[in-house]
């Protein structure tokens, strides 16, 4: 029987295999995710070698992470859309629309219509909530048409792509809008828009505690029911590797310092006497990256711990089975699109923060990068397969290629050619690997 061919997870292999794959399977690590991490590392190291070791520096990596965060945030939602056998082509236009809304709220509507001047408290939050509400409404409307009226999502969201982009133009009368609330600019992730060295360390420590806590909790849960557990060495190794990776990344991010001019300004504003050689202030994690981390954690929780996620995956695996199991599949589908709209609002905040305003083409072609990120990250158009960490990694693989090529002096046509080829290669490799009977 097939049972003999593979070892049930959670049990140590009868004869310990000394392969990487054997160790990974004993530790219950997703082989594909691990492969993507290796690919990302290889890309970064490759560009580092080509550029004589100047590429892998904290400034570059921070910039890369900020540039990739907007797409990665959307990719976490696109995974669920594709897992449920649908598509959303409207995300780029919706990002553009909400971005323009933020810019107009800040410069015009809030001060001139609602009388909320620059000094009004929590203006950034009011704008953000309005954006999130708009995203949910637009997403929900599209989701309703897809799930309840039964128009294919490709058609509905293609309509969304066209009409929402048109609405951006109508909204601003064809003009770019700039000048944001200073707090809102922090979403953009400049030196000011970063959390700083201390908070970065604090986030890392919380991350380590969470890793250890999760490992202990999972082991306790499995013990509670007498299920097979991971071998102890794997638990310890996972904990140590996880914590070292988190702390290492924090240390790396903190190696990025404020530019001298900005540091001098900061010192003057805060009454600090600059030491000789300039004030060395750690930039730490930019806000877009912190937001991405939070979004990825929340989305992973939704996808793996709540019924909502279970229903989406089951629906993607077999829509009829989900229906017959009594799941309200239409409502689940509509919820995915509402969620996608909310993610568009978050991504738009980052885009607006980076530009300190909104142009007509904010989010242009985002839908394509987001779908590419999800697919490179292992999401299958057949439905039911895909993970959120995979999609985030996929977004960064694509972003690392684009950024690395740009850094090496190749212009955007070359970047597009490489991105397209890599997209097809990644999916082709995946299909080949699956046919060979690899774990999915």
């Amino acid at each position: 029987m097939a049972d003999i061919a593979s070892t049930a997870p959670g049990q140590a292999p009868a004869a310990p295999r000394l392969s990487i794959r054997g160790a990974l399977s004993a530790a219950e690590i997703d082989f594909r995710l691990f492969g993507m991490l290796i690919a990302l590392a290889a890309i970064l190291l490759g560009f580092n070698v080509v550029n004589g070791g100047t590429f892998l520096r904290a400034e570059n990596m921070t910039t890369l992470a900020v540039q990739g965060a907007g797409v990665a945030i959307l990719a976490t939602g696109m995974v669920l859309v594709i897992v449920a056998r649908n598509i959303d082509l409207s995300v780029g236009s919706l990002v553009g629309f909400i971005a323009m809304t933020y810019a107009l709220l800040m410069t015009d509507w809030l001060p001139n219509i609602l009388g909320m001047g620059v000094d009004f408290p929590f203006r950034w939050l009011i704008a953000l909530l309005i954006g999130i509400g708009l995203g949910a409404i637009f997403g929900g409307l599209q989701g309703f048409i897809i799930a309840y009226v039964g128009v294919p999502s490709f058609v509905v969201t293609l309509g969304g792509l066209l009409s929402i982009r048109g609405a951006v133009w109508v909204l601003s009368q064809g003009a770019a809008v700039s000048g944001l609330d200073p707090t809102f600019q922090l979403f953009g992730g400049s030196a000011e828009g970063s959390v700083g060295g201390t908070i970065t360390w604090a986030i890392a420590v919380v991350g380590c505690l969470a890793i250890i806590g999760l490992l202990v909790y999972n082991r306790r849960q499995r013990r509670r029911f007498g299920f097979p557990v991971r071998p102890m060495w794997a638990e310890v190794a996972l904990g140590v590797v996880g914590c070292l990776a988190v702390l290492g990344l924090a240390a790396f991010a903190n190696g990025n310092y404020w530019p001298p001019g900005a540091a001098t300004r900061y010192a003057q504003e805060h009454g600090i006497i600059e030491p000789p050689g300039g004030l060395k202030l750690s930039v730490g994690l930019p806000w877009p990256v912190v937001i991405l981390l939070a979004v990825a954690i929340v989305m992973t929780f939704l996808a793996t711990r709540l019924r909502f996620g279970r229903y989406i995956y089951a629906y993607g695996g077999n829509p009829e089975a989900a229906e017959l199991a009594g799941i309200n599949t239409r409502w689940q589908l509509m919820k995915i699109y509402i969620l996608m709209g909310v993610l568009c609002a978050i991504s738009a905040a980052i885009a607006v923060g980076r530009l300190n305003g909104a142009t007509l083409d904010v989010g242009q072609s985002y839908e394509l990068y987001v779908i590419a990120a999800a697919v490179v990250g292992g999401t299958s158009f057949a439905g039911g397969i895909g993970t959120i960490p995979g999609a985030v990694l996929g977004a960064f693989v694509m972003q690392a290629l684009a950024y690395g090529l740009a850094y090496s002096g190749y212009n955007s046509p070359i970047q597009n050619i490489v991105a397209g080829v890599v997209l097809v290669l990644a999916v082709g490799f995946d299909a080949y690997y699956r046919r060979r009977g690899g774990r999915t």
């Binding site: 029987m1 097939a2 049972d3 593979s6 049930a8 997870p9 959670g10 849960q221 499995r222 509670r224 029911f225 299920f227 711990r305 709540l306 019924r307 279970r310 229903y311 995956y313 089951a314 629906y315 993607g316 695996g317 077999n318 009829e320 089975a321 989900a322 229906e323 017959l324 199991a325 009594g326 799941i327 039911g384 397969i385 999915t440």
Partner: protein, 276 residues
């Protein structure tokens, strides 16, 4: 069984009565004015050729395809079943011919699909679900160990066991089994038959749809024969032969109504040959 022998069947309220059920697909009457009933601890064999309306009739009961007209009573009370959730409220569980499993998730996820156990924080309690699945699968298929693998990687018999586990775990009172042994080998078929007897002994009423006249004669108390969307007759198993039932399936007529020529033309093979 014990209950069934104490009181004559005719005097008890059936757990399910389906009265004058009609279901049409386009202009075709897939089920045309059909009435059947089912008692606790009874197995009704539902037989008929392809397209006779067996599965469609059962879909009306399971909520997968609500009837266009007709009445369904559960324990004598009229009920409205418009979707699978409604059916589950009345403890009507269905094992579909296709098994209706989500191939990409594991056995516990499939057993509890739509009825997940949750912790106090509304998150899924995977541990409790796996534990319960291990217990119920231990009864159905003691060798089953692959609780954390997508069910796509399981054998036909294991997948069948998962589909059955889903029905029995939730205390089915009324069980619909659509071709439960069609995809199984001999040993697994024997297992399913044992299970049907066990469930029947527990007082569960079972509608058994099957092409296999062996299954039907072996397990059923009564047999309802369908032909072109109508019931030809419902007979008590002990009062008919397999050939008579085969004749009804093929000709759509009660034994007495078929002419000798028609019966002779059938040239029925040996008793108990499967019709398909």
């Amino acid at each position: 069984m014990a209950v069934a022998e104490r009181v004559p069947i005719a005097e008890r309220v059936p757990i399910v009565e389906m009265r004058h059920i009609r279901v049409a697909y386009g202009g075709v009457h897939a089920v045309d004015d059909v009435s059947v009933d089912l008692h606790a601890g009874e197995v009704i064999g539902l037989v008929g050729g392809n397209g006779a309306g067996k599965s469609t009739l059962m879909k009306a009961l399971s909520g997968a395809r609500p009837p266009d007209s007709g009445e369904i009573r559960v324990n004598g009370e009229p009920v409205t079943i418009t979707n699978p959730r409604d059916a589950k409220v009345y403890n009507i569980e269905t094992i579909y011919q296709t098994l209706a499993l989500a191939d990409n998730v594991d056995a516990p996820a499939n057993v509890f699909l739509g009825r997940e156990l949750t912790t106090t924080w509304k998150t899924m309690d995977d541990g409790a679900m796996e534990d319960a699945t291990r217990k119920v699968m231990g009864r159905l298929n003691p060798n089953f160990k692959r609780f954390n693998q997508p069910v796509k990687s399981l054998s036909g018999g294991q997948r069948q066991a998962v589909a059955i586990a889903r029905a029995v775990y939730f205390n089915a009172k009324i069980l619909i089994m659509d071709e439960p042994t069609a995809a199984l080998g001999p040993a697994e078929t024997a297992q399913v038959r044992d299970l049907v007897r066990q469930l029947k002994a527990e007082g569960i009423g079972i509608f058994l749809i099957s092409h296999d006249i062996h299954d039907v004669f072996d397990l059923s108390d009564r047999i309802s024969v369908m032909y072109h969307g109508r019931i030809v007759d419902t007979v008590v198993k002990s009062e008919v032969t397999a050939d008579e039932v085969l004749g009804m399936i093929i000709l759509g007529k009660k034994p007495g109504q078929a002419t000798h020529e028609e019966l002779a033309e059938l040239q029925l093979p040996g008793e108990g040959a499967p019709v398909s």
